[in-house]
């Protein structure tokens, strides 16, 4: 291979793959639950044909479980679809609080696997900037990924979006173990590359246990 991928492209592709595979994994889990509960219905059906009586409430419970998983799958598919469309426009007007909430949603499995709870707090009024939706999602994820590892014993990461004079700010809070993580490890060249693309800045406040991502009003 002769061409060398730009670090922004490489980081973006990795992010796209990571989020897609994680959410597809969630779909497989939901399908597995549907499969087993539908299988139970089939087992019960076979039993009734052999003359055994099955409580109708039991069947209702199984049907509800299947419907619940169908709703879960539908929500995951909608999220993947929305995520895929975030590359449609390189630059557009973006609601930052809503984007932070969305990244938290599609990252949920990573949080669960680490035993971390994500607490996004939506601003009272919309905070809108003109930026690259996909690379903003990517940079929020990279900050969140680091923040989850720095959550410490509290195992909670707060995500607070605020409006600033120059645009917006996202605070990743309650990072009790931020001081224990090596500050030199963050931001890495990947975050730095995205910061340049978005005209953003990152501040790591070890004492407050916070990472602050500042975003320009327009790029």
């Amino acid at each position: 291979m002769n061409c060398k991928l730009d670090i922004v492209c490489e980081t973006g592709l990795q992010f796209f793959g990571k989020m897609s595979s994680s959410n597809f994994h969630e779909i497989k889990n939901a399908l597995a639950i549907i499969n087993e509960n539908a299988g139970l219905l089939e087992d019960f059906s076979n039993m009734t044909s052999e003359g055994r009586i099955i409580d109708s409430e039991r069947l209702m419970v199984l049907a509800r479980k299947i419907m619940k998983q169908v709703r879960r799958t539908d929500e995951i598919v909608r999220n993947i679809n929305r995520f895929s469309h975030s590359v449609d426009d390189f630059v557009k007007r973006v609601d930052v609080g809503e984007t932070v909430g969305f990244v938290a949603t599609i990252s949920e499995r990573f949080a669960v696997m680490r035993g971390v709870v994500l607490e996004p707090k939506h601003p009272e009024t919309q905070v809108r900037i003109i930026t690259s939706p996909f690379f903003l999602e990517n940079l929020i994820w990279l900050c969140l990924d680091f923040a989850m590892n720095a959550a410490g014993d509290g195992k909670t990461v707060g995500l607070i979006t605020e409006e600033t004079e120059s645009g917006a700010r996202v605070r990743f809070t309650r990072l009790d173990a931020l001081g224990e993580s090596s500050e030199n490890m963050f931001p890495t060249e990947r975050e730095e590359a995205l910061i340049k693309v978005l005209g953003a800045y990152l501040t790591v406040n070890t004492e407050a246990g916070e990472i602050i991502l500042g975003l320009a009003k327009t790029i």
Binding site: F24, H25, K28, N29, L31, A32, I33, I34, N35, E36, N37, G39, L40, D43, L62, K65, K68, Q69, V112, M113, R114, G115
Partner: protein, 119 residues
């Protein structure tokens, strides 16, 4: 045959346990490593069916813990991954007897269970 099923998705594992019981397999279930360790310490199982990706303790790590408690217990791994190559390598390394990709056919699972325990 007595087995223990471990997966963090309770609605999956409870239904699977009931379906196995209809097929003459006594199945207990747990949704995390701590519950599993307790059950394996208190009961004798021929086989454990472990989900690979679970919060905090992975299926592969859990197997290493359980091997110390029940050295003769056999293992089957379940994975949600569509592509099994990486998992296959991991499962082989961990000494899994078998692995299956979710969603599983109950007949395939029962067959693998019987093969694994030699019954």
């Amino acid at each position: 045959m007595r087995v223990i099923l471990v997966d963090d998705e309770e609605e999956l594992i409870s239904a699977l346990a009931e379906r196995l019981s209809f097929r003459g397999i006594e199945a207990d279930w747990a949704t995390n490593a701590e519950e599993t360790e307790t059950l394996v310490s208190e009961n004798q199982y021929d086989l454990a069916v472990l989900d690979v990706k679970m919060p905090k303790t992975s299926g592969l790590d859990l197997k290493r813990i359980l091997q110390k408690i029940a050295p003769s217990m056999k293992y089957i791994f379940l994975t949600g991954h569509g592509s099994g190559k990486d998992f296959e390598a991991g499962a082989a390394e961990a000494g899994a007897n078998y692995y299956l990709v979710k969603p599983v056919k109950i007949e395939d699972l029962v067959e693998k269970m019987k093969e694994a325990v030699g019954k």
